[in-house]
């Protein structure tokens, strides 16, 4: 397993559960480490417009989360802080509300027999659900599938459970040399030489450079997101909102931004101001809370924003896993994807996630 972030650790933990002897190579603190900057949503409602397979995969993962949290909690004693009370996306204008309503209707249509349970909720009813909404809030979309968790406890728990189950964790192990043959891989990393019949590339942004060495493609780019965190407050938010959530300990996290700035991790006052402004428009009382931390991180983005899962055609046994939703998809990665990798082939339901979708198609 190349990559010790949420994606790599979740799959590695899943592989140990399949009885596979697994080595986890983790680059080190020079890596961009999206998994340390996560917002912590287990979020379903806005994923996969025009790509119902992504909505299904996301919903599958949210469904696997309770079992993942219970198993990791029992093995490590860590409370992953999982709560899935449903969630809302606030609309701050009639135009936003109409656009959201159209989006949700299309999601339901595309879901077909799978179904897609949602409601568009007007301001009156919403004011009974959420405390102290601002006058600009005209309504929200709601689904029962959404939730949140503590992403740092998740990462910690995955690593601990993995090593305690006999997995080998190698820190400061950036891949230097790599030799690929079908079902025969040798990697030199951090002074170690590791040989295995299977290899999984889950190195986040590092996959762009790594994948071609294994006959794979992972055209991912960085997309910056910034987060603000308030001081702790008594429980006030009964459910997460797309860009605002209250943690188990009481902090209120405010997001987000989607900035195309390459590998630039700086924070920008104008962006922070916009994040705070939208939060205060949603809940004016947030303005009285102190901001105690703020950070930025780089999402791992494919050209169409969807995950990438592949097995190499040239070098069978080599897999890629890339996504920007390492928290949400942790349930699927540990409990669905890992068993597929263990058996040696990805389920056909994952075919639409192959990076072959970015290839130029042959003319008919």
């Amino acid at each position: 397993m190349v990559g010790g972030g949420l994606v790599g650790a979740a799959i590695a933990w899943g592989l140990t559960g399949q009885g596979l002897d697994t080595v986890l190579l983790d680059e080190g603190d020079v890596a961009y480490r999206a998994s340390r900057g996560n917002f912590g949503l287990v979020w379903v409602q806005s994923k996969g417009l025009g790509a119902p397979w992504y909505q299904r995969w996301t919903r599958t993962s949210a469904g696997e989360w309770p079992a993942l949290a219970a198993e990791l909690g029992a093995r490590t004693g860590l409370d992953l802080g999982l709560a899935q009370p449903g969630g809302v996306h606030l609309c701050l204008s009639e135009a936003e509300f109409e656009e959201r309503a159209a989006r949700m209707a299309q999601m339901r249509q595309e879901a077909g027999n799978t179904g897609f349970d949602y409601r568009m909720i007007g301001a009156g009813e919403l004011r009974g659900m959420l405390p102290g909404l601002g006058p600009r809030v005209v309504g929200a979309s709601w689904t029962p599938y959404d939730g949140h968790a503590n992403p740092l406890h998740l990462l910690h728990a995955l690593h601990r459970a993995f090593t305690e189950a006999g997995g080998h964790y190698l820190p400061n192990a950036r891949v230097a040399e790599a030799h690929a043959a079908p079902h025969e891989f040798v990697v030199e990393a951090g002074g170690h030489r590791v040989a295995a019949p299977r290899i999984v590339l889950a190195a986040g942004l590092g996959n762009a450079e790594l994948a071609p060495r294994f006959g794979l493609s992972a055209p991912v780019r960085p997309q910056r997101g910034q987060v603000l965190v308030t001081e702790r407050a008594r429980e006030v938010l009964p459910m997460p909102v797309t860009t605002i959530r209250q943690t188990q300990e009481g902090s209120i996290m405010l997001g987000d931004s989607m900035e195309e700035v390459g590998f630039d991790l700086r924070q920008k006052p104008a962006v922070m101001q916009a994040i705070a402004g939208r939060a205060v428009a949603s809940f004016p009382w947030i303005a009285r809370l102190n901001i105690v931390r703020a950070w930025s991180a780089l999402r791992v983005m494919a050209p169409d924003g969807l995950p990438i899962y592949d097995q190499s055609e040239r070098f069978p046994g080599a897999f890629t896993a890339n996504c920007h939703s390492g928290v949400t998809l942790a349930g699927a990665h540990a409990r669905r994807l890992a068993p597929m990798i263990a058996t040696g082939s990805l389920d056909p339901s994952l075919d639409p996630f192959s990076a072959r979708r970015f290839d130029v198609r042959a003319a008919a």
């Binding site: 001081e231 702790r232 300990e249």
Partner: protein
């Protein structure tokens, strides 16, 4: 434990720490007033309820959080005393919103 040195800075400002009147030198911090008052704790942490007193006295550790003049979660070491200031224990997390 802590005592004034009136020969250097006389106590001239009256404040109230957790209901108790106290006279402190002008320009000292609310955290200094808390230490002078001899309270066992100025806050109880939000997660475990552990008792805390001012520690770093320079705005870093957040262990001096107090309710000052009705405003919760203020860093007492970063606030200078003022006549009539009311400093109270911060018990657990603050309240963010109270329904009208």
């Amino acid at each position: 434990m802590f005592a004034l040195r009136p020969e250097i800075r006389p106590a001239t400002v009256d404040v109230v720490v957790e209901g108790r009147p106290l006279r402190v030198p002008a320009g000292v911090s609310a955290a200094a007033a808390v230490l002078l008052a001899g309270l066992p704790a100025i806050r109880e942490t939000p997660v475990s309820g552990a008792p805390r007193l001012p520690f770093c006295m320079m705005g870093v550790c957040f262990d001096c959080l107090a309710e000052i003049d009705g405003v919760p979660n203020r860093q007492a070491c970063m606030v200078a005393v003022a006549p009539g200031m009311c400093i109270r224990i911060q018990r657990g997390a603050r309240t963010a919103f109270v329904a009208p």
